[in-house]
């Protein structure tokens, strides 16, 4: 897996102070630090490169021009920028429509597909991405942030405004739902 780079938190503070003073290099540093991550997050959510590009740029623009608002949020810049990206994604769904998803959390496993026989190692990345996009909004968010973005449960909790325990429980349910979604795809 190619690394996306370090997801900074406390390290961002000096850079943010410099951005506030009009330091263009600091703006560039923050942009470089987060653009790929945000692009990756949005792409994983939407599945379309063109939309991901626009939304990632929009997210970075909002984040770097509204630092006065960030000060009031009381969270790390990394959490804040992901929240902006998440909200941009939701706005995108609202504008362009999205099929309402039914949670697979309590869906029965298909009889013809044995979970133990599901060869996840052999599944393509695209299949995994597509199956994730079948999950609920929160389940998608937690799986993408935890496994594609490689964030800690604490960081995800900060982004989603939940406790660490709640994120861990959500992650467990999301993996279960993803397994069922993959079984469904394997059968079809």
């Amino acid at each position: 897996m190619r690394p996306l780079g370090k997801a900074a938190s406390d390290d961002d503070r000096p850079l943010i102070e410099r951005v506030r003073k009009g330091d263009q290099d600091a703006v560039r540093a923050l942009y470089e630090r987060y653009f790929d991550r945000i692009y990756n997050y949005v792409y994983a959510r939407l599945g379309r490169a063109e939309d991901a590009e626009d939304l990632a740029i929009d997210t970075m623009t909002r984040g770097l021009t509204r630092l006065d608002l960030f000060q009031d949020q009381g969270v790390a810049f990394s959490s804040w920028i992901y929240r902006i990206a998440h909200n941009a994604t939701i706005d995108h769904y609202r504008r362009h429509g999205k099929v309402s998803l039914v949670s697979l959390e309590h869906a029965p496993a298909l009889e013809s597909a044995d979970p133990s026989e599901l060869a996840v190692e052999q599944m393509s990345n695209e299949d995994l991405h597509a199956a994730i996009r079948d999950l609920t909004d929160e389940q998608q968010q937690v799986l993408i942030l935890r496994f594609f973005q490689d964030l800690t449960a604490a960081q995800v909790a900060s982004i989603m405004g939940k406790s660490v325990g709640a994120v861990q429980a959500l992650q467990h349910r999301a993996l279960g739902s993803l397994e069922r979604a993959l079984q469904g795809r394997a059968v079809n």
């Binding site: 897996m1 560039r28 990756n40 770097l64 496994f147 490689d150 993996l175």
Partner: protein, 241 residues
């Protein structure tokens, strides 16, 4: 570890190996250009204005809006409105900025019409005291108009005569309205105020006719009813109480 947990662990591990989507270089450059432009614009907008100065500017803007709102509200206000005094101030300001006899006449006739409208509204609301004040205002405006005409007649009799005709027509219109009003009210005080206003209008016309006789017909009422011949020949004598 249960089989389910093992499976989910395997699935989690598989997710960790998924290659991330990497933005094309062109997208990143385009994004940077847009972000940079937005940041520079944002800095420019913010840098020039200190927070305290921004507060002061906001207060001034709010004040201007408040005053503008009050002025707008006062423009059509009636004597029983809290904005009415402001209307007087605005009218005086407008008068101070009106130059030339013709414009001054138009100004006084306009205010006379306004006072009459106010009086009608106050009668309708049974505010006889305020209606009486409005009719006094009507009288003042007509007198001022008559003085403007007098002065103009001395410098240019022809123009003065034309202005006198304008006054005559205006007073005829007012008189017709006052006559209509007179037929509607029953309150003796109101009745008295209306008839006095009609008499004073006739006197104003006589004042305008003085020192010039520009139209050659100073004693004739605009509507042929004798208006303009003074109180002695008034068509609407003061009632007997």
């Amino acid at each position: 570890m249960t089989p389910e947990v093992e499976r989910l662990e395997r699935l989690a591990e598989r997710l960790r190996t998924v290659d991330p989507y990497i933005p094309p270089p062109g997208a990143k450059i385009r994004g940077w250009n847009l972000v940079l432009a937005a940041v520079e614009q944002s800095n420019t907008a913010r840098s020039g204005v200190h927070p305290i100065r921004r507060l002061v500017l906001a207060s001034v803007a709010a004040g201007v809006l408040l005053v503008a709102g009050a002025v707008a509200a006062s423009a059509d206000s009636l004597p029983d409105s809290i904005f009415y005094p402001l209307k007087g101030v605005l009218e005086n300001t407008r008068g101070a900025l009106t130059f030339g006899a013709s414009d001054q006449l138009a100004y006084h006739l306009d205010l006379a019409r306004t006072r009459l409208t106010e009086a009608q509204a106050m009668f309708a609301r049974h505010r006889v005291d305020l209606a009486d004040q409005a009719l006094s205002g009507l009288d003042d405006q007509l007198n001022d108009a008559a003085l403007v005409i007098q002065a103009e007649k001395q410098s240019d009799p022809a123009v003065g005569a034309a202005m006198e005709n304008r006054l005559r027509q205006a007073i005829a219109t007012h008189d017709a309205q006052l006559a209509g009003l007179q037929g509607q009210v029953t309150n003796p005080t109101a009745l008295n105020a209306i008839m006095q206003a009609r008499d004073r209008a006739a006197q104003a016309l006589q004042t305008a006719a003085r020192n010039g006789k520009g139209n050659g017909n100073p004693g004739t009422s605009p509507n042929g009813s004798g208006l303009g011949n003074g109180t002695a020949n008034s068509p609407h004598p003061t009632p007997k109480h």
